[in-house]
Amino acid sequence: MSAVMITRKVRKWEKLPGKNTFCCDGRVMMARQKGVFYLTLFLITGTCALFFAFECPYLAVHLCPAIPVFAVLLFLFVMAMLLRTSFSDPGVLPRALPEEAANGNVPAGQRPPPRIRNVQINNQIVKLKYCYTCKIFRPPRASHCSICDNCVDRFDHHCPWVGNCVGKRNYRYFYLFTLSLSLLTIYIFTFDIVHVVMRSMNGGFLNTLKETPGTYPLKLSLTVLEVLVCFFTLWSVVGLTGFHTYLISLNQTTNEDIKGSWSGKNRGQNPYSHKNIIKNCCEVLCGPTYPSVLDRRGLLQEDTLISSSNPVPQTTVSAHKHTHALFLIVVSSFRHTDS
Protein backbone atom coordinates (compact mmCIF):
# COMPACT_ATOMS: atom_id res chain seq x y z
CA MET A 1 0.00 0.00 0.00
CA SER A 2 1.36 3.41 -0.77
CA ALA A 3 0.36 6.52 0.99
CA VAL A 4 1.04 10.21 0.92
CA MET A 5 2.00 11.96 4.13
CA ILE A 6 1.55 15.68 4.25
CA THR A 7 3.39 17.25 7.14
CA ARG A 8 2.46 20.76 8.04
CA LYS A 9 3.45 22.93 10.95
CA VAL A 10 0.49 24.68 12.49
CA ARG A 11 0.26 27.13 15.34
CA LYS A 12 -1.27 25.81 18.54
CA TRP A 13 -4.04 28.42 18.50
CA GLU A 14 -5.52 26.78 15.41
CA LYS A 15 -6.12 23.60 17.40
CA LEU A 16 -7.36 25.14 20.65
CA PRO A 17 -10.83 24.05 21.69
CA GLY A 18 -13.26 26.67 22.89
CA LYS A 19 -15.19 29.40 21.14
CA ASN A 20 -12.55 32.10 20.80
CA THR A 21 -11.49 33.92 17.68
CA PHE A 22 -7.82 34.58 17.05
CA CYS A 23 -6.24 37.29 14.94
CA CYS A 24 -2.73 38.29 13.89
CA ASP A 25 -1.58 34.66 13.86
CA GLY A 26 -2.58 33.99 17.46
CA ARG A 27 -1.41 37.24 19.00
CA VAL A 28 -4.96 38.51 19.52
CA MET A 29 -7.59 36.48 21.38
CA MET A 30 -11.22 37.50 21.64
CA ALA A 31 -14.70 36.07 22.06
CA ARG A 32 -16.77 35.13 19.05
CA GLN A 33 -19.37 37.91 19.24
CA LYS A 34 -17.61 41.20 18.64
CA GLY A 35 -20.54 43.42 17.63
CA VAL A 36 -20.84 45.24 20.95
CA PHE A 37 -17.07 45.74 21.05
CA TYR A 38 -17.22 47.57 17.70
CA LEU A 39 -20.02 49.71 19.14
CA THR A 40 -17.81 50.61 22.13
CA LEU A 41 -14.98 51.59 19.79
CA PHE A 42 -17.33 53.65 17.64
CA LEU A 43 -18.85 55.51 20.61
CA ILE A 44 -15.49 56.38 22.14
CA THR A 45 -13.70 57.40 18.94
CA GLY A 46 -16.80 59.14 17.55
CA THR A 47 -17.41 61.28 20.62
CA CYS A 48 -13.72 62.12 20.96
CA ALA A 49 -13.47 63.01 17.27
CA LEU A 50 -16.38 65.43 17.61
CA PHE A 51 -14.78 66.91 20.73
CA PHE A 52 -11.42 67.43 19.04
CA ALA A 53 -12.95 68.84 15.89
CA PHE A 54 -15.53 71.24 17.34
CA GLU A 55 -14.76 72.04 20.96
CA CYS A 56 -11.01 71.94 21.18
CA PRO A 57 -10.14 74.74 18.72
CA TYR A 58 -12.36 77.17 20.64
CA LEU A 59 -11.22 76.04 24.10
CA ALA A 60 -7.53 75.99 23.19
CA VAL A 61 -7.70 79.57 22.02
CA HIS A 62 -10.07 81.06 24.61
CA LEU A 63 -9.18 79.02 27.69
CA CYS A 64 -5.98 76.98 27.72
CA PRO A 65 -4.05 75.03 25.06
CA ALA A 66 -3.36 72.24 27.54
CA ILE A 67 -7.01 71.15 27.40
CA PRO A 68 -6.85 69.27 24.08
CA VAL A 69 -3.38 67.92 24.93
CA PHE A 70 -4.63 66.32 28.12
CA ALA A 71 -7.71 65.03 26.29
CA VAL A 72 -5.51 63.34 23.68
CA LEU A 73 -3.39 61.66 26.36
CA LEU A 74 -6.47 60.46 28.19
CA PHE A 75 -8.04 59.19 24.96
CA LEU A 76 -4.88 57.26 24.05
CA PHE A 77 -4.75 55.70 27.52
CA VAL A 78 -8.43 54.65 27.28
CA MET A 79 -7.85 53.05 23.87
CA ALA A 80 -4.69 51.29 25.06
CA MET A 81 -6.50 49.82 28.06
CA LEU A 82 -9.53 48.81 25.99
CA LEU A 83 -7.44 47.04 23.38
CA ARG A 84 -5.30 45.39 26.03
CA THR A 85 -8.40 44.06 27.81
CA SER A 86 -10.05 42.89 24.61
CA PHE A 87 -7.07 41.31 22.92
CA SER A 88 -5.33 39.52 25.76
CA ASP A 89 -5.83 36.05 27.16
CA PRO A 90 -7.98 36.51 30.31
CA GLY A 91 -6.33 33.56 32.06
CA VAL A 92 -7.79 30.61 30.19
CA LEU A 93 -6.92 27.22 31.67
CA PRO A 94 -6.03 24.68 28.99
CA ARG A 95 -8.06 21.48 28.92
CA ALA A 96 -6.59 18.35 30.42
CA LEU A 97 -4.81 15.96 28.10
CA PRO A 98 -6.30 12.44 27.97
CA GLU A 99 -3.80 10.93 30.42
CA GLU A 100 -4.44 13.61 33.01
CA ALA A 101 -8.21 13.36 32.59
CA ALA A 102 -8.03 9.57 32.79
CA ASN A 103 -6.81 9.90 36.35
CA GLY A 104 -10.38 10.41 37.35
CA ASN A 105 -11.90 7.74 35.12
CA VAL A 106 -12.65 4.33 36.56
CA PRO A 107 -13.63 1.14 34.76
CA ALA A 108 -17.33 0.48 34.34
CA GLY A 109 -19.03 -1.04 37.36
CA GLN A 110 -17.15 0.96 39.95
CA ARG A 111 -18.49 4.06 41.64
CA PRO A 112 -17.41 7.26 39.84
CA PRO A 113 -14.85 9.30 41.79
CA PRO A 114 -16.09 12.32 43.73
CA ARG A 115 -16.55 15.37 41.56
CA ILE A 116 -16.07 17.89 44.36
CA ARG A 117 -12.81 18.33 46.24
CA ASN A 118 -12.63 20.22 49.50
CA VAL A 119 -9.55 22.26 50.25
CA GLN A 120 -8.82 24.40 53.24
CA ILE A 121 -7.60 27.88 52.45
CA ASN A 122 -6.85 30.15 55.40
CA ASN A 123 -9.22 28.24 57.71
CA GLN A 124 -12.03 28.29 55.20
CA ILE A 125 -13.31 25.21 53.40
CA VAL A 126 -13.52 25.87 49.66
CA LYS A 127 -15.20 23.43 47.28
CA LEU A 128 -13.42 22.77 44.00
CA LYS A 129 -15.82 21.59 41.34
CA TYR A 130 -14.98 19.28 38.46
CA CYS A 131 -15.46 20.78 35.00
CA TYR A 132 -16.88 18.16 32.63
CA THR A 133 -15.93 20.15 29.53
CA CYS A 134 -12.33 20.85 30.45
CA LYS A 135 -11.91 17.62 32.47
CA ILE A 136 -10.15 19.37 35.34
CA PHE A 137 -10.92 20.25 38.91
CA ARG A 138 -11.28 24.00 38.71
CA PRO A 139 -8.74 25.89 40.82
CA PRO A 140 -10.24 28.17 43.47
CA ARG A 141 -11.83 31.30 41.96
CA ALA A 142 -11.84 29.80 38.46
CA SER A 143 -15.10 29.45 36.59
CA HIS A 144 -16.22 28.13 33.23
CA CYS A 145 -17.43 30.76 30.78
CA SER A 146 -20.22 29.28 28.68
CA ILE A 147 -19.89 32.00 26.01
CA CYS A 148 -16.21 31.32 25.36
CA ASP A 149 -16.41 27.65 26.47
CA ASN A 150 -13.24 27.91 28.56
CA CYS A 151 -12.38 27.72 32.22
CA VAL A 152 -10.91 31.08 33.21
CA ASP A 153 -8.74 31.63 36.27
CA ARG A 154 -10.07 34.22 38.74
CA PHE A 155 -13.12 34.60 36.50
CA ASP A 156 -14.79 37.97 36.97
CA HIS A 157 -17.40 38.16 34.22
CA HIS A 158 -17.78 38.01 30.45
CA CYS A 159 -17.98 41.57 29.18
CA PRO A 160 -19.62 42.01 25.76
CA TRP A 161 -18.50 45.68 25.67
CA VAL A 162 -14.87 44.59 25.47
CA GLY A 163 -15.67 41.41 23.58
CA ASN A 164 -13.77 39.13 25.96
CA CYS A 165 -13.87 37.50 29.38
CA VAL A 166 -12.41 39.45 32.29
CA GLY A 167 -10.18 37.21 34.39
CA LYS A 168 -6.91 37.10 36.25
CA ARG A 169 -4.71 38.37 33.46
CA ASN A 170 -6.76 41.28 32.20
CA TYR A 171 -8.76 42.45 35.23
CA ARG A 172 -6.46 45.37 36.00
CA TYR A 173 -6.60 46.57 32.38
CA PHE A 174 -10.39 46.34 32.50
CA TYR A 175 -10.50 48.35 35.73
CA LEU A 176 -8.12 50.99 34.38
CA PHE A 177 -10.23 51.14 31.22
CA THR A 178 -13.43 51.86 33.17
CA LEU A 179 -11.61 54.33 35.41
CA SER A 180 -9.96 56.25 32.58
CA LEU A 181 -13.16 56.16 30.53
CA SER A 182 -15.03 57.69 33.47
CA LEU A 183 -12.42 60.44 33.66
CA LEU A 184 -12.57 61.01 29.91
CA THR A 185 -16.37 61.16 29.93
CA ILE A 186 -16.40 63.62 32.85
CA TYR A 187 -13.71 65.68 31.12
CA ILE A 188 -15.56 65.92 27.80
CA PHE A 189 -18.89 66.53 29.55
CA THR A 190 -17.43 69.35 31.66
CA PHE A 191 -15.72 71.08 28.77
CA ASP A 192 -18.79 70.77 26.57
CA ILE A 193 -20.79 72.62 29.20
CA VAL A 194 -17.98 75.16 29.63
CA HIS A 195 -17.90 75.66 25.86
CA VAL A 196 -21.62 76.29 25.59
CA VAL A 197 -21.57 78.63 28.60
CA MET A 198 -18.57 80.56 27.29
CA ARG A 199 -20.06 80.94 23.84
CA SER A 200 -23.32 82.29 25.22
CA MET A 201 -21.48 84.57 27.66
CA ASN A 202 -19.12 86.04 25.06
CA GLY A 203 -21.78 87.66 23.03
CA GLY A 204 -25.13 86.25 23.80
CA PHE A 205 -27.00 83.77 21.67
CA LEU A 206 -28.26 86.25 19.10
CA ASN A 207 -24.84 87.77 18.33
CA THR A 208 -23.29 84.36 17.91
CA LEU A 209 -26.06 83.35 15.55
CA LYS A 210 -25.43 86.50 13.47
CA GLU A 211 -21.70 85.74 13.18
CA THR A 212 -21.96 82.18 11.97
CA PRO A 213 -25.52 81.71 10.80
CA GLY A 214 -24.82 78.51 8.89
CA THR A 215 -22.48 76.55 11.09
CA TYR A 216 -23.54 77.49 14.61
CA PRO A 217 -26.76 75.42 14.71
CA LEU A 218 -24.76 72.40 13.45
CA LYS A 219 -22.05 72.93 16.03
CA LEU A 220 -24.62 73.40 18.76
CA SER A 221 -26.46 70.21 17.86
CA LEU A 222 -23.17 68.24 17.79
CA THR A 223 -22.26 69.60 21.20
CA VAL A 224 -25.69 68.61 22.48
CA LEU A 225 -25.17 65.13 21.02
CA GLU A 226 -21.83 64.84 22.82
CA VAL A 227 -23.39 66.01 26.08
CA LEU A 228 -26.15 63.40 25.77
CA VAL A 229 -23.73 60.54 25.02
CA CYS A 230 -21.51 61.60 27.90
CA PHE A 231 -24.43 61.97 30.27
CA PHE A 232 -25.73 58.45 29.70
CA THR A 233 -22.23 56.94 29.58
CA LEU A 234 -21.37 58.72 32.81
CA TRP A 235 -24.00 57.02 34.89
CA SER A 236 -23.17 53.52 33.69
CA VAL A 237 -19.37 53.75 33.52
CA VAL A 238 -18.88 55.71 36.74
CA GLY A 239 -21.23 53.31 38.49
CA LEU A 240 -19.30 50.34 37.14
CA THR A 241 -15.98 51.87 38.22
CA GLY A 242 -17.38 52.43 41.69
CA PHE A 243 -18.62 48.84 41.87
CA HIS A 244 -15.25 47.42 40.81
CA THR A 245 -13.41 49.69 43.23
CA TYR A 246 -15.56 48.19 45.98
CA LEU A 247 -14.80 44.65 44.75
CA ILE A 248 -11.06 45.32 44.55
CA SER A 249 -10.95 46.73 48.08
CA LEU A 250 -12.49 43.46 49.30
CA ASN A 251 -10.50 41.25 46.86
CA GLN A 252 -13.66 39.71 45.42
CA THR A 253 -14.71 38.92 41.89
CA THR A 254 -18.03 39.87 40.28
CA ASN A 255 -18.77 36.15 40.01
CA GLU A 256 -18.29 35.64 43.77
CA ASP A 257 -20.34 38.74 44.53
CA ILE A 258 -23.25 37.61 42.38
CA LYS A 259 -23.20 34.10 43.84
CA GLY A 260 -22.87 35.50 47.34
CA SER A 261 -19.92 33.22 48.12
CA TRP A 262 -18.53 35.34 50.91
CA SER A 263 -21.50 37.40 52.06
CA GLY A 264 -23.65 36.61 55.04
CA LYS A 265 -22.63 35.07 58.33
CA ASN A 266 -23.34 31.50 57.25
CA ARG A 267 -21.06 31.57 54.22
CA GLY A 268 -17.87 32.53 55.97
CA GLN A 269 -15.16 35.04 55.31
CA ASN A 270 -13.33 35.65 52.07
CA PRO A 271 -10.10 33.65 52.47
CA TYR A 272 -8.31 35.55 49.70
CA SER A 273 -8.71 38.98 51.26
CA HIS A 274 -5.75 40.44 53.14
CA LYS A 275 -8.23 42.20 55.46
CA ASN A 276 -6.52 45.46 54.51
CA ILE A 277 -7.95 47.66 51.74
CA ILE A 278 -4.57 49.00 50.60
CA LYS A 279 -3.03 45.54 50.42
CA ASN A 280 -6.01 44.21 48.49
CA CYS A 281 -5.80 47.07 45.98
CA CYS A 282 -2.06 46.61 45.62
CA GLU A 283 -2.42 42.91 44.96
CA VAL A 284 -5.05 43.31 42.28
CA LEU A 285 -3.66 46.38 40.55
CA CYS A 286 0.08 46.19 41.15
CA GLY A 287 0.55 42.48 41.59
CA PRO A 288 2.72 40.35 39.31
CA THR A 289 1.71 40.16 35.65
CA TYR A 290 0.77 36.55 35.12
CA PRO A 291 1.92 34.90 31.90
CA SER A 292 -0.47 33.17 29.55
CA VAL A 293 -0.41 29.39 29.99
CA LEU A 294 -1.95 28.92 26.56
CA ASP A 295 0.97 28.68 24.23
CA ARG A 296 -0.94 30.19 21.32
CA ARG A 297 1.96 30.72 18.99
CA GLY A 298 3.81 27.47 19.66
CA LEU A 299 4.15 25.08 16.76
CA LEU A 300 2.48 21.71 16.34
CA GLN A 301 3.27 19.14 13.73
CA GLU A 302 0.17 18.04 11.91
CA ASP A 303 0.53 14.87 9.88
CA THR A 304 -2.25 14.20 7.45
CA LEU A 305 -2.13 10.68 6.07
CA ILE A 306 -3.91 10.03 2.82
CA SER A 307 -3.67 6.40 1.81
CA SER A 308 -4.85 4.99 -1.53
CA SER A 309 -7.13 2.42 0.15
CA ASN A 310 -8.68 4.98 2.47
CA PRO A 311 -9.47 8.24 0.69
CA VAL A 312 -10.43 9.99 3.94
CA PRO A 313 -7.37 11.82 5.28
CA GLN A 314 -6.33 10.81 8.79
CA THR A 315 -4.79 13.61 10.75
CA THR A 316 -2.52 13.18 13.72
CA VAL A 317 -1.06 16.04 15.62
CA SER A 318 2.10 15.77 17.63
CA ALA A 319 3.36 18.45 19.95
CA HIS A 320 6.73 19.75 18.91
CA LYS A 321 7.80 23.06 20.35
CA HIS A 322 9.86 25.55 18.32
CA THR A 323 10.59 29.17 18.90
CA HIS A 324 10.81 30.53 15.39
CA ALA A 325 7.97 30.84 12.88
CA LEU A 326 7.89 28.32 10.02
CA PHE A 327 5.09 27.19 7.78
CA LEU A 328 6.07 24.28 5.57
CA ILE A 329 4.10 21.94 3.45
CA VAL A 330 6.18 18.88 2.76
CA VAL A 331 4.78 16.21 0.54
CA SER A 332 6.52 12.87 0.51
CA SER A 333 5.40 9.44 -0.53
CA PHE A 334 6.46 6.36 1.29
CA ARG A 335 5.37 2.81 1.82
CA HIS A 336 2.73 2.57 4.51
CA THR A 337 4.02 0.24 7.22
CA ASP A 338 2.43 -0.77 10.44
CA SER A 339 3.47 1.59 13.20
Partner: protein, 134 residues
Protein backbone atom coordinates in the same frame (compact mmCIF):
# COMPACT_ATOMS: atom_id res chain seq x y z
CA UNK B 1 18.24 6.28 23.20
CA UNK B 2 14.91 7.21 24.68
CA UNK B 3 13.00 6.54 21.43
CA UNK B 4 12.92 2.83 22.22
CA UNK B 5 11.83 3.15 25.87
CA UNK B 6 8.16 2.56 26.49
CA UNK B 7 6.10 4.74 28.77
CA UNK B 8 4.90 2.67 31.71
CA UNK B 9 2.87 5.29 33.51
CA UNK B 10 2.42 8.98 34.18
CA UNK B 11 2.14 10.47 37.63
CA UNK B 12 0.52 13.85 38.18
CA UNK B 13 1.56 16.01 41.13
CA UNK B 14 -1.43 18.19 41.90
CA UNK B 15 -1.55 21.77 43.09
CA UNK B 16 -1.53 22.59 46.77
CA UNK B 17 -4.15 25.26 47.48
CA UNK B 18 -3.77 25.40 51.26
CA UNK B 19 -2.13 28.82 51.16
CA UNK B 20 -4.48 30.31 48.58
CA UNK B 21 -4.36 30.67 44.83
CA UNK B 22 -0.57 30.95 44.73
CA UNK B 23 1.11 28.36 42.50
CA UNK B 24 2.37 25.61 44.83
CA UNK B 25 2.58 21.86 44.30
CA UNK B 26 1.95 19.07 46.77
CA UNK B 27 5.11 17.55 48.22
CA UNK B 28 3.43 14.24 49.02
CA UNK B 29 5.52 11.41 47.58
CA UNK B 30 3.51 9.37 45.03
CA UNK B 31 3.56 5.60 45.54
CA UNK B 32 4.38 4.89 41.87
CA UNK B 33 7.84 6.41 42.31
CA UNK B 34 8.70 4.38 45.40
CA UNK B 35 11.30 2.12 43.83
CA UNK B 36 12.58 4.68 41.34
CA UNK B 37 13.74 7.68 43.33
CA UNK B 38 14.45 8.80 46.89
CA UNK B 39 11.60 10.46 48.72
CA UNK B 40 14.07 13.08 49.93
CA UNK B 41 15.26 13.89 46.40
CA UNK B 42 11.74 14.22 45.07
CA UNK B 43 10.61 16.47 47.92
CA UNK B 44 13.66 18.65 47.41
CA UNK B 45 12.80 19.12 43.73
CA UNK B 46 9.18 20.02 44.44
CA UNK B 47 10.15 22.36 47.26
CA UNK B 48 12.65 24.14 45.02
CA UNK B 49 9.94 24.56 42.36
CA UNK B 50 7.51 25.89 44.98
CA UNK B 51 10.07 28.41 46.18
CA UNK B 52 10.66 29.65 42.66
CA UNK B 53 6.96 30.06 41.96
CA UNK B 54 6.56 31.88 45.27
CA UNK B 55 9.36 34.21 44.21
CA UNK B 56 7.61 34.89 40.90
CA UNK B 57 4.31 35.73 42.57
CA UNK B 58 5.72 37.60 45.54
CA UNK B 59 3.95 40.85 46.40
CA UNK B 60 6.82 43.06 47.28
CA UNK B 61 8.31 46.40 46.41
CA UNK B 62 9.70 45.06 43.13
CA UNK B 63 6.32 43.93 41.84
CA UNK B 64 4.70 47.20 42.94
CA UNK B 65 7.33 49.32 41.21
CA UNK B 66 7.05 47.21 38.06
CA UNK B 67 3.25 47.50 38.18
CA UNK B 68 3.21 51.27 38.67
CA UNK B 69 5.86 51.93 36.03
CA UNK B 70 3.99 49.74 33.55
CA UNK B 71 0.70 51.52 34.29
CA UNK B 72 2.25 54.95 33.74
CA UNK B 73 3.49 53.87 30.32
CA UNK B 74 0.09 52.30 29.49
CA UNK B 75 1.81 48.88 29.66
CA UNK B 76 3.84 49.60 26.54
CA UNK B 77 7.01 49.04 28.56
CA UNK B 78 6.39 45.28 28.32
CA UNK B 79 7.02 45.44 24.59
CA UNK B 80 10.71 45.89 25.32
CA UNK B 81 11.05 44.51 28.85
CA UNK B 82 10.39 41.05 30.22
CA UNK B 83 8.15 40.79 33.25
CA UNK B 84 9.55 39.47 36.52
CA UNK B 85 7.31 36.41 36.27
CA UNK B 86 8.63 35.55 32.80
CA UNK B 87 12.21 35.82 34.06
CA UNK B 88 11.46 33.38 36.88
CA UNK B 89 9.69 31.00 34.46
CA UNK B 90 12.89 30.85 32.40
CA UNK B 91 14.80 30.04 35.57
CA UNK B 92 12.31 27.28 36.36
CA UNK B 93 12.63 25.80 32.87
CA UNK B 94 16.40 25.71 33.25
CA UNK B 95 16.13 24.10 36.69
CA UNK B 96 13.79 21.39 35.40
CA UNK B 97 16.13 20.68 32.48
CA UNK B 98 19.02 20.40 34.90
CA UNK B 99 17.12 18.10 37.26
CA UNK B 100 16.04 15.91 34.35
CA UNK B 101 19.61 15.60 33.07
CA UNK B 102 21.27 14.95 36.41
CA UNK B 103 18.74 13.06 38.49
CA UNK B 104 15.59 11.96 36.73
CA UNK B 105 16.76 10.78 33.32
CA UNK B 106 19.30 8.26 34.76
CA UNK B 107 16.41 6.76 36.73
CA UNK B 108 14.09 6.52 33.71
CA UNK B 109 11.87 9.42 34.71
CA UNK B 110 11.01 12.69 32.98
CA UNK B 111 9.67 15.85 34.58
CA UNK B 112 7.43 18.03 32.41
CA UNK B 113 7.50 21.76 33.04
CA UNK B 114 4.12 22.65 34.67
CA UNK B 115 3.71 25.64 32.34
CA UNK B 116 3.10 23.15 29.53
CA UNK B 117 0.16 21.77 31.51
CA UNK B 118 -1.35 25.14 32.36
CA UNK B 119 0.38 25.30 35.77
CA UNK B 120 -2.07 22.65 36.95
CA UNK B 121 0.15 19.61 37.49
CA UNK B 122 3.74 18.46 37.45
CA UNK B 123 3.66 15.51 35.08
CA UNK B 124 6.25 12.79 35.71
CA UNK B 125 6.56 10.24 32.93
CA UNK B 126 7.82 6.83 34.08
CA UNK B 127 9.68 4.94 31.37
CA UNK B 128 10.18 1.19 31.48
CA UNK B 129 13.18 0.32 33.59
CA UNK B 130 15.86 -0.68 31.06
CA UNK B 131 18.33 -1.60 33.78
CA UNK B 132 16.20 -4.59 34.76
CA UNK B 133 16.45 -6.13 31.29
CA UNK B 134 20.27 -5.93 31.14
Amino acid sequence: MRQQAAITAKVFIQRDYSSGTMCQFQTKFPSELENRIDKQQFEETVRALNNMYAEAEKLGSQSYIEGCLACLTAYTVFLCMETHYEKVLKKIAKYIQEQNDKIYAPRGLLLTDPIERGLRVVEITIFEDRSLTR
